[in-house]
């Protein structure tokens, strides 16, 4: 991994979007087993995957993974923790006055 330059990889992936009463979820799986490390950026190519009501869509797509360079990775590891309160957003709204 380079200190300053970012590596870009194209990876086959499967996206699954469920927009049903029983489950609302949306996930991306990398078919070749690629894993994401802190600071990496992922962009699934193509038009938005939009499931209508009652639909589950499973589609093969290509994802572009922009790998963080060593500095960014270190930075994300050091500072990511500051955002940890995001995990506590149970039924919170962002605004103070609605």
């Amino acid at each position: 991994m380079s200190l300053f330059t970012r590596k870009v990889e194209q990876v086959p992936c499967t996206v699954e979007v469920s927009h049903r009463f029983e489950a609302l979820h949306a996930h991306v799986r990398f078919n070749d087993g690629s894993t994401i490390e802190p600071g990496d950026e992922v962009l699934v190519q193509g038009p938005p995957v939009l499931a209508g009501w009652g639909e589950v869509i499973t589609e093969d797509r290509t994802a572009v993974i922009t790998r963080a360079n060593a500095l960014e990775r270190l930075w994300t590891r050091l500072t990511g923790d500051f955002e940890v309160m995001e995990l506590c957003e149970f039924s919170f709204s962002e605004e103070i006055t609605l």
Binding site: R20, L24, P38, D40, P48, T76, G80, I96
Partner: protein, 364 residues
């Protein structure tokens, strides 16, 4: 996680035929979860042997899926008079539903990711069940939103996402507290509405009892995870972290709940009373694993929370004002919120010793 409103037409145009016309959506909301990584190797090394017996019982219970049939609309789901509802209340109710849906959804994303990346059979099994529950909860709320004319847009997948990083222990503390506080919030509203059924202005509250039991078990799982490594709750530094998380979560909840006055008024709930009630239950439950409880009856507790809440209001007003004056006012408000938080943080805690057996059953 951020929720962005997109225009109804924009979504309808993008979706074409599959657009949810039945929902008669007047507005749409783009769910935009954050994506996280953590130290997956460290999580793989978790060994649940010290709590194996209790672990297996909990996992068996999750596997049996006691709430499978619960999230269905039955005759109990009565019609909501959206048009007759006071617009301010409607706005806050929709905000409540959207943010709850977002929270459930992001829980699902996080748990699914942990299941995917892990190689530890016990851990993967747990996260699989929890992701299942959260997707189900999100689906149920989404349906209530459809009725309100709000369509949820899941188009975020094709937008660039940067993955941030949290240490595993921070995930344990934060998600443990948020699962348990989620339980306490849901059950407190449920019990209140049992006493005051005329205040139940939306049927979703009737589902809160079984619902919160799911959240309760999720919390139990994190309690067991933390018990596998005593350092997580006993080392000096970690005790400071635990106190930090409890204080931060409680203070955030207080500030955010006060953003929904109409919602709470319609429920017939005094926000200060409700929040204290939720803190009390959460604190009591959390003694199962945390060696302390925040002293929410300390004479300075409530006044300091109120001060923080006022500071947040000022911060927002200053932001709207803009300009140099707005900046200065914002800094001053931020400083006073920070000082308020520091005041809460240095307040002495009530120390306690977690019981030998960690497992609890929902008791409220």
């Amino acid at each position: 996680m951020n929720v962005h409103a997109t225009t109804h037409d924009e979504l309808a145009a993008e979706m074409g035929d599959s657009f949810d016309t039945n929902a008669m959506a007047q507005e749409s909301t783009l769910l935009n979860p954050r994506f996280y990584t953590t130290d997956f190797d460290e999580m793989d090394r978790i060994d649940v042997s010290p709590v194996r017996e209790e672990w297996d019982i909990l996992i068996a219970q999750m596997k049996s899926d006691p709430n499978k049939g619960h999230f269905k609309k039955t005759a109990d789901w009565d019609e909501v008079d959206w048009d007759g509802m006071d617009p301010k209340l409607k706005r806050e109710l929709v905000d409540f539903l959207v943010s709850s849906c977002t929270a459930e959804f992001s829980g699902c994303v996080l748990y699914k990711e942990m299941k995917r990346r892990g190689n530890n059979k016990d851990i993967c099994e747990l996260f699989n069940y929890m992701a299942r529950d959260e997707a189900r909860h999100a689906g149920f709320i989404n349906d209530a939103l459809r009725e309100a004319g709000v369509a949820v847009n899941l188009g975020f997948l094709t937008k660039a996402k940067k993955y941030t990083y949290f240490r595993p222990k921070f995930i344990y503390y934060a998600t443990y507290i948020s699962e348990k506080i989620g339980y306490a919030r849901y059950i407190t509203i449920y019990r209140h509405l049992e006493q005051n059924p005329e205040k139940r202005f939306h049927p979703i509250f009737k589902w809160f009892k079984e619902w919160c039991n799911d959240e309760f078990s999720h919390g139990e799982a994190f309690a067991l995870l933390m018990r596998t490594d005593p350092k997580l709750t006993q080392s000096f530094t970690n005790k400071l972290w635990i106190k930090f998380f409890l204080t931060a979560v409680f203070a955030t909840m207080y500030v955010r709940d006060h953003a929904r006055p109409e919602f709470h008024k319609a429920l017939g709930v005094d926000i200060d009373w409700y929040d204290q009630e939720v803190f009390r239950k959460t604190g009591e439950i959390a003694k199962q694993v945390f060696p302390m409880e925040l002293d929410i009856d300390h004479p300075a507790w409530m006044p300091t929370l109120k001060k923080i809440e006022r500071a947040f209001r000022k911060m927002e007003a200053a932001e709207k004002q803009g300009g140099v004056g707005g900046k200065l006012a914002k800094w001053s408000a931020m400083a006073s919120a920070g000082m308020g938080f520091a005041r809460l943080y240095v307040m002495p805690v009530k120390k306690s010793t977690p019981p030998a057996s960690v497992r609890l059953e929902p008791a409220y």
